[in-house]
Each structure stands twice: as C-alpha cells, then as structure tokens.
C-alpha cells in the first residue's frame, strides 16, 4: 500500500473509531437511564425526541453552555488537567482493539482496527492503568475533603483490583500464546463437538477467569457495586464533587468509555471476539462480524446496567477483603490449574 493511501486510511479509521466510541458512550448513558428507569418502574427520558433518543445531544449542549466554575481554593494546573487525563487515557485504548475481520473496499484491503500490535493486550492494560491518575489527581487538586477521600479510595481500589484483573487474563494468554488481540481472537476460531464454539470461556475452561475478570472490571470502572470513590451517600459525589459543566462531563465520558473498552476486551478474550455465522455477498460477509461483535458488547453493557439496578454498594473493608482474600487467590489458583493442564496436554 503506498504511504499516502496508508495515511488516509489510517486517519479515516481513527476518525470513525472515535466517532463510534463517543456516540456509543452517549447512548450508553441513554440506555442506562432507560433500563434503570424501567427496572424502577419509571419511564426514563421520554421528552426529547422519540423514546428520549435525543437526550444525549440535549445533555451535551447543556454541558457546553453551563458555567464552568473553578472554585478558588483548588490547585489550578492539576484541577484542569485531571479530567483531560481521565478522558484521554479512556479513549486512547480503542486504538488497538479490533472490531472485526478484514474489509475490502475496491483496492483497499484493511483490518477493522486502527493498529494491530503484538503487545496489544498489554497496551490496553497499560493505558487503563494510567487512567487512575485522572481520578486521583482530581481528588487531590480539588482541595476538598470529599474529593480527597474519593480520590484516595479510587487509587487504592484500582491498584488492588488491577492485580486480580491482570492475573485472570494470564490463563487466556497461556492458551493463545500471543499478546496480539487479533491473534487471541483467531486462536478461538472453530467449534468442538460439532456445535459448541471454541471460545476460551468453553474450550479453555476459563469461566472462573471470566467471572474474576468481570468483577474486577466493575471495580476498575468504579461501577456499582464498587462505586465507593463516588458514593453519593457518604461523599457527595466523590472525586468530581467540585467539577461542573464540561469538566464534569469529561469524567462521565471517561467512565463510560472505560465500560465500552472493558466490554470489548471481555468479548475479545473470552467470547471469541467477532466469530459468528457469516453468509451472503462479500460486503455482507465483511460487515457481519462487526455486527456479532457489537451484539456482544451490547450484552455486556446491559449486564453492567442490570447489576447497577440490582445490587447495593459494598462497604470499604468488604471491598478490600473481597479483592485481596477472594478474587486474588482464586485468580492464582485458576492460573496454576490452567498452566498445569496446558503442560500436561503437550
């Protein structure tokens, strides 16, 4: 591929991925309000557009035109930088996530992915592990006790659960033998016993790892039942108490973008990525994997919202003992068993 076409294709792919991610973030908020509303016997947003579908746009305009308050007692450089750090690291990890197979448009043959790195999974983990700075620094720079407590809780919680999360993924890595996300998906192609797909969840016996991953991921994204950093009943709004307007919206966007990334990773690593029945003419064959992938992400986002509508919040000591005394030993046991089985099979 000549260099100019390469650059144009890359720019188009980046713009598309960003647009889709941000739209997905906006409509996940809508979906959450709608689903939680119905779970609590309410309607959720109904006024703006049919089924309240234009609510995200209205919210966006509202955030843009609201007064951007900066309290006088804050440490300004970090107070302004913190929401940017949060949203930048939340959005960047989309760069290595593959959405589907290769696509052919005339002379251009390109993967549905911004870039395929042979350390793709580690890049996602590295970038998301930097996201905690946004939350910790916002809590500290706000110079308010509620924000500080929220920031402290967030950094302790995210560092603790990162270990269980990382260990739960090692089993998948042992089975597939690569860090490339595309390679991991390709290692799960095919079926066994005729009809059960070769996903790591079934074939590899990684269901324990899958549940460890899901729970640790809820903690990493600060979602209920692990939303102690922003526990409304104790901390007003936690680390973003002092933020308003677009700066607050940035934290919101970062949280939902992280949810989408976590859902993408779960489907890529455990549920075979975009595998599914493919048929019809070439263009449909190219598009269908994307549809299967989006369907999986939708299921994960729905479970997120479902859990939010169902479970109460943990107490802080419960959170810590659950992470260190239950999830971590379980993840280590899963790792040892998986490694033993793989070695014995060889």
């Amino acid at each position: 591929m000549p260099i100019l076409t390469f650059i144009i294709v890359a720019v188009i792919k980046i713009a598309l991925a960003l647009f889709v991610l941000l739209t997905a973030v906006a409509y996940t908020v809508w979906l959450e309000r709608k689903v939680v509303g119905h779970m609590q016997n309410r309607w959720g947003p109904t006024r703006v557009g049919p089924f309240g579908l234009l609510q995200p746009a209205a919210d966006g305009v509202k955030f843009l035109f609201k007064e951007d308050l900066t309290p006088p007692h804050v440490y300004r450089p970090l107070f302004i930088a913190a929401p940017m750090i949060a949203v930048i690291f939340a959005v960047t990890s989309i760069a290595v996530i593959p959405f589907g197979n290769w696509i052919t448009l005339g002379p251009i043959h390109t993967p549905m992915q911004i870039t395929d790195l042979n350390i793709g999974l580690l890049v996602v983990l590295g970038i998301t592990s930097l996201g905690v700075y946004g939350i910790a620094l916002s809590g500290w720079s706000s110079n308010s006790k509620y924000s500080l407590l929220g920031g402290l809780r967030a950094s302790a919680q995210m560092v603790s659960y990162e270990i269980a999360l990382g260990l739960s993924l090692v089993g998948v890595l042992i089975l597939s033998g690569t860090f490339s996300l595309r390679g991991i998906v390709e290692s799960q192609a095919g079926h066994f016993w005729g009809f059960i797909p070769n996903w790591n969840l079934f074939r590899g016996g990684q269901f324990v790892a899958f549940f460890i991953y899901l729970m640790a991921a809820y903690a990493e994204t600060n979602r209920i039942p692990f939303d102690l950093p922003e526990a409304e009943t104790e901390l007003v709004a936690g680390y973003h108490t002092e933020y308003s307007a677009m700066k607050f919206a940035m934290f919101f966007m970062a949280e939902y973008a992280n949810m989408v990334t976590v859902a993408c990773l779960a489907s890529l690593l455990f549920l075979g990525g975009w595998s599914g029945p493919v048929f019809g003419p070439q263009i449909v064959q190219d598009i269908l994997p994307l549809v299967w992938f989006v369907a999986r992400i939708f299921v994960f986002l729905f479970i997120y919202i479902w859990v939010r509508g169902t479970l109460p919040r943990f107490r802080y000591d419960q959170l810590m003992s659950f992470g260190w005394k239950f999830l971590l030993p379980l993840a280590i046991a899963n790792l040892v068993i998986t490694a033993t089985v793989v070695v014995l099979k060889k």
Partner: protein, 173 residues
C-alpha cells in the same frame, strides 16, 4: 531517520522530566515528573524494539508504583518544601563527586566509541526470550530477588503494625 528524531526527542523529555523532578517544590509535581520520566523511558524501550519491556515499564512503574507514590503524598497531604541553603558537606563532596562521575561516563563512552547505535530489535524483546533469560539463565538471582522483596514486605508490615504493648492497653480499656 524518524526513529532517531523520536529517540532524541523522548530522551530530551526524559532528562527534562528528571531535572523538573528535582527542581519542583511540591511533592506531587515531583511525583508526576517521575511519571513523565517513566513514560518516556518506556517509549525509548519501544523504539529500541523491546515492546514487552516497554509495556511492563508503563504497567508496573507508571501504572502501579507511581500511583502508590501519589497515593501516599495525597494521604499525608504533604505541602510545599522550603528551600534551604544546603549543607556544606553536600557542596564539598557532591560537586567533586558529580565531576568524577561525569568524567567516568565520558571515559566509558569514548572507550566504546566504535559502537555507533543500538541495532533495532536486537535486544531480547519478545516475551518468550525474556522468560527464557529469567527462568533459565538467571533463575537463581530471580528467586533471590523475590525473597528480598518478601523481606521488604515483612519489614513494612512490622513497621506499620502497632507495637504489642499499645494493642494490649487498647484491649484492656
């Protein structure tokens, strides 16, 4: 060419971050400068072809250890440092020591002047190669390091735990 430019730029960023780390008065700014140093070091590893080491550098140092640094600074709510004139011993020993160190670095660089540039990708960058080195050739040092880390953890627990006499008086009351 692009490689060389990127390498130099991130080298400069790394050094600038390190200098800023020393010059900043507020501990949290210093900690963040250290994050910048770690990040640009990771980019340097990446440019040399050691992707795995680069990723681990970001995950372990920038993502975990420095978060704990920031956490402790936040917890103690450490304020700005006061500038002192510095001790006379530091001036007397530090300046000659620094000069000697610089001379030594220059000497080593001159001796190895025939090595022009690090060949890209020649470093053991693939995870399996690193695992081979760690778990076969350097197994003993690796295990000894783990014992060292364990001792450090136990030391931290001993230091952080309240002395038994305090616990006993608490129970009585």
């Amino acid at each position: 060419m692009l490689h060389l430019i990127l390498f130099s730029v991130f080298g400069l960023v790394c050094v600038a971050g390190a200098v800023n780390l020393v010059l900043q008065r507020h501990p949290i700014n210093s900690a963040l400068s250290l994050v910048v140093v770690m990040g640009s070091l990771a980019v340097e590893y990446l440019l040399l072809g050691a992707e795995f080491v680069a990723a681990v550098q970001v995950i372990v140092y920038a993502g975990a250890i420095m978060v704990l640094f920031v956490f402790v600074i936040m917890l103690l709510n450490a304020g700005e440092e006061e500038h002192s004139e510095g001790s006379r011993v530091a001036w007397l020993l530090g300046v000659p020591g620094l000069l000697a160190f610089l001379v030594m670095i220059c000497w080593v660089l001159l001796i190895h002047a025939n090595i022009r540039e690090a060949p890209l990708g020649a470093l053991p960058g693939h995870p399996s190669e690193i695992a081979q080195l760690l778990f076969h050739e350097f197994l003993l040092p690796f295990e000894v390091t783990s014992v060292l880390v364990l001792i450090a953890i136990m030391g931290a627990v001993v230091l952080a735990a309240k002395p038994e006499s305090v616990q006993a008086t608490k129970k009585e009351s």
